[in-house]
Amino acid sequence: MSTVAAPPPKKVNRIGLEVVGYKGLRTTLCAGCGHNSISERVIEAFFEMGVAPWRVIKLSGIGCSSKSPAYFLSMSHGFNAVHGRMPSVATGAMLANRTLLALGVSGDGDTASIGIGQFVHLMRRNLPIIYIIENNGCYGLTKGQFSATADLGSKLKTGVINDLPPIDTCALAIELGATFVARSFSGDKKQLSALLRAAISHRGTVMLDVISPCVTFNDHEGSTKSYGYMKDHEEPLHEIDFVPYFEDIDIEIQPGTTREVTLHDGSRLALKKLAEDYDPTDRLESRRALDQAARTGEVLTGLLYVETNRPDFLQLLNLVEEPLALLGQDRLRPPESALTEIMEELR
């Protein structure tokens, strides 16, 4: 009798799903593309948070970044919209069904150039959505042209130098009213993972700008969105620990070194001070820090700004509890007496 070890039990999350239930199709992006790392983090975060995938809608615009929703959450409805205009589609979908969890994936071209109009209004509305910019400073799918987040003086593979200042999507998002604004790096697994899980716990617009190097067109000497540049210039604001509401873990708070932020679902973020103390609830401080970093060429990462008491866009609309999409005729069509009354007024 041979003895065969029983396979280790598969790990399931709180709703009984294995991680495979959060995966997508095999990626068709380049090997080493930062976007693939982000997809991995998304899969982990939704798995670990035990989000029912059928509650999630994943939306994107056009470009390499916008292909990535195909590579995670196969059990979620996906929507690949037109270039730069995913925010409006996401807004409409959330109006129709407020119980959904919207995950939007965009790129720096898709957001900061063609999509800047919809981006700013999305931020302003504070729609409940997790909006990720997979930011590589260039247009990958059309072979490497500069985007509007490319830094002043950064260099294309062809030697062309960018002579226009970048649009800082985080500064813009804070200015416009997004209530959870963070920057991260596709290579910073721990930080990105914590931020994504916190994003799931936040109600309102989460704007997550993730520097995600393009290995094919923008990972060379002279690029400020390369792995090398990020390795040398990433400046985390704090060390982030995320404690989900369903885990009973104490955070060790040491006054003066750790800040705690409680999110809408009761989950908590512990932000441990690194070099300087940073208060992510202070809008002015966030702007100052971003400006300062821009001057020195450092890339600040971490939770830049969070505001947990502002109502989101759907709350402002005073909607019925049930999704509008699922209301029946009895709720949608006023009775005949209403029409009779209106006709009488028009006579």
């Binding site: 059928w54 809608i57 409805h77 919809q118 005073n318 709720r331």
Partner: protein
Amino acid sequence: MSSVETLPAQGLASPEPPHLVNDFSIQVATVNGSGSQSANIVLLRALFQMGIPVSAKNLFPSNIAGLPTWYTIRANHRGFISRKKEIDVVVAMNPETAEEDVRNLAPGAAVVYDAPLGLNRLRSDLHFYPAPFDKLVTPVCPEAKLRRLVRNMIYDGILAHLLGIEMEEIRKALFKQFKKKVKAAELNWRAVEAGFEYARQNLTKTDPCRVERLNANGNKIIIEGNAAAALGAMFAGVSVVTWYPITPSSSLCETLIDYARRYRIDPQTGKATFAIVQAEDELASIGMALGAGWAGARSMTSTAGPGISLMSEFIGLGYYAEIPTVVFDVQRVGPSTGLPTRTAQSDILSTALLSHGDTKHPLLFPCSPEECFEFTLQAFDLAEELQTPVFVMLDLDLGMNYWMAEPFRYPTAPLKRGKVLSAADLERLGGFARYKDVDGDGVGYRTLPGTEHPLAAYFTRGSGHNERAAYTERPDDYTRNMDRLARKFETIRRMAPAPVLDLRPEARMGVLAVGTTHWALVESRDQLDREYSLPSSYLRLRAFPFHPSVADFIDRHDRVYVVEQNRDGQLLDLLKLDLDPALLPRLRSVRYYGGLPIDARTITDDIVQQEGL
């Protein structure tokens, strides 16, 4: 739809001049922003309440205050309500345009005017009625700053005396107009009385126009087409409305907001069963409408030509990814900004084929408030049944002017929500293929986001996709999908509103139109018949893709005039794309594109000329 399809009775006694009883047009020329709209609506309503068929055309500038505006009211005992080319009575209140307004009149017209303008020196072949408006308004309106707004009410009193409009009906209309603002109504009423009294004591009636109570309006209402469409949307159960302000469509969504606040708030919770969002532009308004349609809500947006142009890319996505939504296009004069406050039917071709690639879209063409209401109900059903954007094509004339209408009928048919699979369906079927033509009508089955089933999800994309909604660049996948979409369009052809046909057995000539052209065309047919012994059959199309009976109609006649309100004959062009080439030589074109609502005489003259009469 009796008021739409019923043509004015033939052979009714029609008194010719010198007496124009219940058959004339009044044009009021004012400066915009001067509060003349209230005076004009009161006049319109008073005539309507006396049972005289009326219509109103507001000719206004794209401006808030200070530019000339003209309001034309037509009374016609036979029920002809298109714009009448000739003006019988002018009320000249605008010093800037008064002289030209008077010079353009045909001999014998009447002119009520502000006495200091001294218009009677200009011509001797008109009937002049001067009145000192400033002098009259001072005693009735002690508060100087209100006088500018009250002053116009005086001409209602003068016209009441000159035309024989019953003062009691003016009073009723006035209090209706001012609703709960009783003090304002009383103030304005005193101005009406002052005008009436002045006219009674000082003016001698010499022109032939007058009214007599007719009681021909039955149970009718008065409403703008935009408001009718808004009501249609509310009773269709629209739940997500996303829009961007643009003339002449803004009042559609604004009216809908008012009604929805009254009738679509859940009585138990005080919460709304609708979301209305003013978007940042039309790119966003259509994007939101599609997002909402995709997620299962009844969604809509409303716009005009420039917005339609902006929506082009998204509409292509809606067509190709097969997402229901309803788009109202209240057409105005283009190209570009064009004439924002003038009417046209000039988005027909561009909207039918909106967006790049092979795209085509269903268009519904209402001609009346009743049809605005009913086609809107239908548009929401069609959008969800066919999973595609559906356009309701109004125009400024229909959308923004007041029209008489039969009271709308409460919809008895249940909402048709189309092919949507539930979690239970998925369990039973073991899955689904989003773009598979299961039923042979070209329409697949969809699931809504949030459906709690592991097999519910699919990926919606504007890029190439196969039956299972997976990305593909394969020629056979692409062709099969496009062929299915073409098949779906044939399904739409069978489901869209059928044409309205009025066949005259002896007619060798046919006329064909869509939308508001109808009203001028029925009157033109009457003119052609009576004045030129030229009977005609009439087919009014109400939807694109065109109903198969169009071909039969053309085949029955030697020649068919396609009458429309644009320069290039867009409806004709669209017919050419759709019809058997053998029929094309029979088609002729009548086009008007001056920006005013088309009138009967223009059509008649054009056809007479083409007929060589």
